[in-house]
Amino acid sequence: MRRPPLTDTLLAPSTTMSESGPLLALDNVSMLFHTRKGLFRGGVVTAVSGVSLTIARGETLALVGESGSGKTTVGRISLRLLRPTGGRVLFDGEDISQVPEERLGWLRKRTAIVFQDPFSSLNPYMTVSDLVAEPLVIDGVNDAAARRTRVRDALAAVDLTPTDRFMHVYPSSMSGGQRQRVGIARALIRNPEYIVADEPVSMVDASSRVEILDLLNGLQLQRGVAFLYITHDIASARHFADRIAVMHLGSIVESGSARQVIDQPVHPYTRALIAAVPEPDPANRFLRRATERWQDTPGLAIHPGCPHGGSIEVPAVLLEVPGEPGHSVACHLEPARGR
């Protein structure tokens, strides 16, 4: 499949980009997985197809979608935890898409990931200080006193204070929110420039979620970390991301500033997704919200602002919505690929 190269007009973030270009750029990235079903049947699953996106330094891009949409795969490709089967991944201008793992040590030091499940992602036999210090041990920081200082700093940065109280406890005696802070401290310890936060609050109690997201926002402001915030919760994306990209069946169907995508959604899938959110608002009660196929959801006619004008485009390209710089949308009439 050929398509035009990455153009700034389509993909430029709404915030001003630093002179050195985006920190991360995915250009027409695809990911095929081979499935094996015994000796006689094999198959290919297209998890991600034709995804292009950029993240500027200190920017948060929310990748919103339902399970199976490929958002976690995109996050893993952006960290080169997966090697994409097509397209390019540029980190700080360097093409990392096919670099062998043993030559990616520099990338590992500049990037990090926060996992979804704070109950299973922390080794229950390690204390908080061991968990947070582990990346330093791998980096060969052999001075125990230096490690301890940096662990204290990281714990202080995620508000696990007084740090002495938390250094030697095990995750089992902490709440979900506290464990997720440990996960974030562990991600922070190498001072990364880019963090993938994969559903960081979906398993944290409602009353602690905003605290964790505020914490991530604060780290971004203080340290200029760029985030890929992977979530199924589009409402949280409005408040904690600069831009939103909506994924459906392995492709980005709409992207733009958080307000553009939520207040003026164009793609019918985005509109169906937004309509499905039960907001605690008296005007929003007892409504019928969804059908088996989102395409059948009432009121989802072709949007008057659709840049594709109701024509089928194969391959689907993200076109900019007229009069809305930075807001682009894929053609929804294009048949879903790969599945």
């Binding site: 339902e66 399970s67 709440s175 979900g176 929110g177 506290q178 109690d205 409602a206 009353s207 602690s208 979620r209 905003v210 605290e211 997201l213 505020d214 199924h232 919760d233 589009i234 409402a235 949280s236 409005r238 408040h239 904690f240 939520i262 207040d263 169906a272 997704l273 937004i274 309509a275 499905a276 959110v277 039960p278 907001e279 605690p280 608002d281 008296p282 929003n284 009660r285 007892f286 409504l287 019928r288 919200r289 969804a290 059908t291 088996e292 989102w294």
Partner: protein
């Protein structure tokens, strides 16, 4: 006479040593009519699932205290012997849909056989009648009849949760308890299940006890909402009133902490940590996290009736105590000026 009246219900657990977890502590509410839904909203550890287990009388072994009154159609249930409760009440009058659509179905049993289980128990139906009933139930929850011969692994999460609902509906219960029925589902599938629940509430008019951590979901389905915290009801009232003018600081902070889809008002984090259920604070259980807490909060507040039909467990709603607080604030302000 209400359909279901729960009064002063307690379910405490033994937590080893002399520690006790007060999972359900003095909980009271009513479901007045057929087709009424009450939402039980709370975070994990607030005791909302224990409330469901108490009503179904599916109790674990380490129960330290279980008492209070549960009246269904004016019939006291708590004094029934277990055998009679199983034969006459559980699944027949009070049924439950469990959390986690993935794990509640038996993986080696066909869907139809699972739904038929309560039908065949105690020979309530013969096999032909049970088969017809299963097809009927599948249709009612929006699944094709041939799903009866499938296995759970052939179904998606949403379809499995529909099977869970069909099973609960098998014996035409009066009250359906739903414990986080959509928590493992995508938002669009969740909306489909909620549509189904809205239909069942209308016709045949099933009353529901809807347990959730998501106040948005509760507001989508429920006529009344009870906000629980650390085993206790903090506030209960008509859904619109709880959503628009919550009287308890916990309800207010919980609503303020939700990221809103169509508003630029940033969500506010809730202060403090969730309580340790084996070592509850003295007085109001929320007072260590409450921005309005003062001396009176060391005294345990009752549920205070509010205008508009709700109740709130906060001294700020007691005219005398709130008046004293106001006088003290006034004096302090005066002293600061002097």
């Amino acid at each position: 006479m209400p359909l279901l009246a729960v009064d002063n219900l307690h379910l405490w657990y033994d937590a080893g040593g002399d520690r006790v977890v007060r999972a359900v502590d003095d909980v009271s509410f009513t479901i007045e009519d057929r087709g009424e839904a009450i939402g039980i909203v709370g975070e994990s550890g607030s005791g909302k699932s224990s409330l469901a287990l108490a009503l179904m009388r599916l109790l674990p072994k380490n129960v330290a205290r279980f008492d209070g009154s549960v009246r269904l159609n004016d019939r006291e249930l708590t004094t029934l012997p277990e055998d009679q409760f199983r034969r006459e009440i559980r699944w027949q009058h009070i049924a439950m849909v469990f959390q986690g659509a993935m794990s509640v179905l038996n993986p080696v049993l066909r869907i139809g056989d699972q739904i038929a289980e309560p039908l065949l128990l105690d020979r309530r139906f013969d096999k032909t009648a049970a088969r017809a009933r299963v097809h009927d139930l599948l249709q009612r929850v929006g699944l094709p009849a041939d799903f009866a011969s499938r296995y759970p692994h052939e179904l998606s999460g949403g379809q499995r949760q529909r099977v869970g609902i069909a099973t609960a509906l098998a014996l035409d219960p009066d009250v359906l308890i739903l414990d986080e029925p959509t928590s493992a589902l995508d938002v669009s599938v969740q909306a489909q299940i909620m549509n189904l629940l809205k239909d069942l509430k209308e016709d045949p008019g099933i009353s529901m006890l809807f347990i959730t951590h998501d106040i948005g979901l509760a507001s989508d389905l429920c006529d009344r909402i009870a906000v629980t915290y650390a085993g206790e009801q903090m506030e209960i009232g008509p859904a619109e009133q709880v959503l628009v003018t919550p009287h308890h600081p916990y309800s207010q902070l919980l609503l303020a902490s939700l990221p809103r889809l169509h508003s630029d008002v940033p969500p506010r984090p809730m202060p403090g940590d969730p309580p340790d259920l084996t070592a509850l604070p003295r007085g109001c259980r929320f007072h260590p996290r409450c921005p309005y807490a003062w001396d009176a909060c060391l005294e345990h507040p009752p549920l205070i009736p509010m205008p508009g039909g709700g109740h709130a467990r906060c001294w700020l709603n007691d005219p005398v105590v709130a008046g004293e607080r106001y006088q003290i604030q006034l004096r302090n302000a005066q002293a600061a000026l002097d």
